[in-house]
Subunit: 232 residues, 2 copies
């Protein structure tokens, strides 16, 4: 019997690579995305394209209104997306986002009897995000095994983080080797409706740098015109 | 400065009592409810009434479509709600529900700079639910303190579970002493639109037993007619 895995799929390059890794490892993949009030809904179209390309067993998009809670430049239009690196925890950090996403993935894993949840967190490029660190992932895994029927009945659940110690260039090299089509992924914090990138935000700069360091052609689709002023 | 607390408020008697305890302890209370595909949406009207009676600082209802994930009699119409006690983990268990709710409470707590989250879990009457046990709560708290900016910056977050070791009768006595109006709460798994209880499901039986053992009048509003057959 094929092993099942729930894979968090944002539509960005990290989660697309993570899905390819899970599939390559022989898992039947159940992709999970969220409509959580993010400005960059182009990500969700990207997630659907990637899920189809990778022939997942199922792809669910869960509606979850985190914008009602506020607190991040990604969900709150009154907070500007930065275009230069900032000290400490970035304003694009969404409070407890990975905790929330992993919790819902856990619920689905329990229903599916899946014992693996894949998440494309990265402790190298996102060192400012508390919920991307290995110690957070371990604590979540421990909690998850106490939270569920399956855990109580002795089926150990694992949170798989294949990218956690990779640099962006290694992620890109790995993905290319596994056939990931990065032109379909959206990284930009302020991508336009069709998923074209601004080329200027923190996320765009890290992505472009990654392609350069990987020695791979940058297949990102960039917007040629200026982004809408309300997005800056 | 008044301390802030996020209080999970389902509209049932346990969460109403928990809110009264938090308020009595001097917290500014931010009540959080979920529209998660539950059949018993009457709970949400109850939550709004209780939040207003207890004069909370704010009450948010978050939309979250857990029905898309399935797996519980509470969100999946194809699974019947039991009317007699069952062995092991009940079918009314919603996979990872407390994990999901606490995670979103954590997100709001971080935005509010609240260091306390109250949840009315009870390990006595709900011993079959893995996510009502003290070891789950401790593991969640530990994870939460690694998940957030506040945790990293040294502000300890506590998950408060004042009811965890109480019997139903003690919960009711405590609530009555604090002025909780239990006629406004909804416990029944298949309450009608106006919040009237079936009087037959597991939850109704525990509730009625609680009033009897507390020596308090049962203020529950019961439906006099038979519940709709689709609810059985």
């Amino acid at each position: 019997m094929t092993k099942k895995a729930v894979v968090l799929l944002s539509g960005g390059m990290d989660s697309a690579t993570t899905l390819a890794i899970a599939k390559h490892a022989g898992f039947d993949c159940y992709a999970l995305s969220f409509r959580y009030g993010q400005r960059h809904s182009a990500e969700l179209h990207a997630a659907a394209r990637i899920a189809a390309q990778q022939q997942v067993a199922a792809h669910r998009i869960i509606d979850l209104d985190l914008a009602g809670i506020g607190g991040s430049a990604l969900t709150d239009p009154s907070i500007a997306v930065p275009e230069s690196p900032s000290e400490g925890i970035p304003v694009t950090y969404v409070p407890a986002r990975n905790t929330v996403f992993l919790s819902i993935a856990l619920a689905w894993a329990e229903v599916l009897s899946a014992q693996h949840i894949f998440i494309g967190v990265n402790a190298v490029d996102y060192s400012g995000y508390p919920d991307c660190r290995p110690e957070f992932i371990s604590a979540f895994e421990r909690m998850a095994n106490l939270a569920t029927k399956a855990g109580i009945e002795g089926q150990h659940l694992t949170i798989e983080t294949p990218l956690i110690q990779m640099r962006k260039a290694d992620i890109i090299k790995t993905g290319i080797a596994l056939g990931v089509d990065y032109s379909q992924t959206v990284t930009c914090y302020q991508a336009d409706e069709s998923g074209r990138a601004c080329g200027r935000c923190d996320a765009c700069r890290l992505r472009a740098e990654g392609f350069a360091l990987a020695g791979a052609p940058d297949t990102t689709r960039y917007a040629t015109s200026e982004p809408d002023s309300t997005d800056r």
